[in-house]
Symmetry: D3
């Protein structure tokens, strides 16, 4: 695990997105908060927030960080839900992986809760990526060779 002890503690934030693809009747159930397992939005939000706080247990080389804020939002399209997870800290390293982990786990929770209503071939988690981050050296363009 890299040594971050010499890096400055700065305010850092990251926003990541993931998408959950499912048939229209499944997306409606998410929007209506109506599945046999309960409210999929509220459950996926909590799963994402809990995962953000445990990222250093899940990704072996991530550092434990004092998570100051974590939130998960959902936007609905006809055959997919766009998940956005935002995480804040004041620490020596960024929270990109925390935001990505929160978005992924929220998407997997939606999958788990909608699974009884669709065939496996109809469900997928689409692209998961970082949307934005601030703080640390991330403001500066890194030159890759």
């Amino acid at each position: 695990m890299k040594d971050v002890g010499m890096k400055p503690e700065t305010l850092r934030s990251a926003t990541a997105t993931a998408t959950f693809h499912a048939p229209t009747h499944c997306i409606e159930r998410i929007r209506d908060r109506d599945t046999e397992k309960g409210d999929p939005q509220a459950t996926a939000r909590i799963a994402g927030i809990l995962a953000a706080k445990r990222t250093d247990e899940l990704l072996p080389l991530c550092h434990p960080l004092p998570i100051h804020a974590a939130e998960v939002h959902f936007a609905f399209e006809e055959q997919r839900v766009v998940i956005e997870a935002e995480v804040h800290t004041i620490g020596p390293t960024g929270v990109e992986m925390e935001a990505l982990t929160a978005a992924s786990m929220a998407a997997l929770t939606l999958y788990d809760m909608l699974k009884p209503y669709a065939e496996p071939a109809e469900l997928a988690i689409g692209e998961t990526r970082l949307l934005d981050k601030t703080g640390g050296k991330s403001h500066y363009k890194r030159t890759l060779k």
Copy 2:
């Protein structure tokens, strides 16, 4: 959490896939097991296996299951790694979510370890989906209305 107590305990397996997209020089580092944080294949494999065993803690409405086997494999293409995770149990409910969680966490671990070598815009986790499952009622086509 749905009651699975009346469901038969049968041998069940599931295979899921996720993809990690990165520039060619990153994919080479994964193939060569060479990053400043260590061997990305070995680390992502362990992260995936550990996540499979903790799926019921991560996805709130999943049941704890006696995981009998969990494995993660990698296939390399020019600008992506295809991850395949396979999980086995003998239990009253299937291991689809365990396989999907293992594939997702392995992909996130690759992301974390290659992050120092690329810009955020160059990295993404692509489609995560179930490839196959056996056991339980999954052999039968379910009719959706």
Copy 3:
């Protein structure tokens, strides 16, 4: 930790209750699922279900059990919420502690989410107790000396 290996694996269930006491305007917020931290009912339900599955980590001398079902319900009175948690397993020992832990953690989650709206002196978790259990030797009256 007592040896339960010689006990028969039977279908077992337990129901426990806890109460959360708060001013009327707080109870209304719970009923209306409206706090600045999100939906308190959905969040407390998930916290209770997750805690039921982790009881053997939280209570040092409890055995790990394959939780087959866990659910949390809320009933509203003017100045309190009555929480009921029900847990099922097929195992060599009962799930009383799992049900009690689920009810307690659901109550603590309500406390946490309503805390911004009341003074500490106005909030309390009232009686937490077992309502019912079935399975194992629990059908028989034990003679205490």
Copy 4:
């Protein structure tokens, strides 16, 4: 999860109480540290301290905090044990929930260890509430509308 990043890091403490109700012969066993599962005082103390450190995993919207001290004490009355849990941190938000969680888990541990000696109807966890907190904005009376 609310953003606490803009709140000052101050020395904060909280003390919470819970009670465990049981027949006199059970209270004696706790006082004498004599049950078939081991010393109930030492075990409940450890369960409470461990729970204080994991509060942010158990209560979904609590922040991780650097716990600087956590202790659990017991006072004995004829048919109940009064548990007091005290937690300290230097952080951007208070440790009320950590103290309440520690007191609750200590009470549940006593319940688990005395359960073999009593009928369910004879055992209960009584009122759990905050006794005191210092630090942050807690010194000031908040006006509720």
Copy 5:
């Protein structure tokens, strides 16, 4: 993680030992259950039992098993404590690693609690090994090439 699904579920037990070496005055404190951090015997016992139940989280390629019994005992010599940990299960694979992990974590807990009373050079955890196991194919001598 190897597939144990085809292995028979049998009653299995394992006993492991570890030793904690410290100056005589430290061994006396353990025997007298008297340190500034509390009772070292009771605390190390609980740490060992909890670790036995979480072995599959700590050792990446261990299988989750239904631990039916776990116990930790201490024997005192002049400058060391001999720890013995015993674990039982009915499962498809043995509990050697669970017993070894319990003994190790109990030893580390003693170290942590006696650390304020000795110099680092005076403290060590001595040999940790398996004493005995039963069940599965362990009764048969395996031929090594």
Copy 6:
């Protein structure tokens, strides 16, 4: 749990060692990263790093600390592997227990992965001790009475 709130936050590091004893053909398998369960070096390294980050969950009276670096190294001798674990933090208390826990869990992971290739009597974890620590009051010789 002792109160460390009044102790200064300083840069602290600790290095601990453990040894894994096994027949020569097992040591060769570790060096060659070749066992049926995968690469033992990479797996034991990850197990050690993860354990360092969870020390406060495993050792009941340890404080949670922001681990800034954790690394595990292996040196090979004919019939043993010498494991060295190094941990860094900036915190109010030291990371000796984190380094010792990392070394122990790495050793146990090697044991688990080589177990299929040897008899129990041929395997042991040898001396686990602190090699070095810096920061806090550790620079000063403590007088023991």
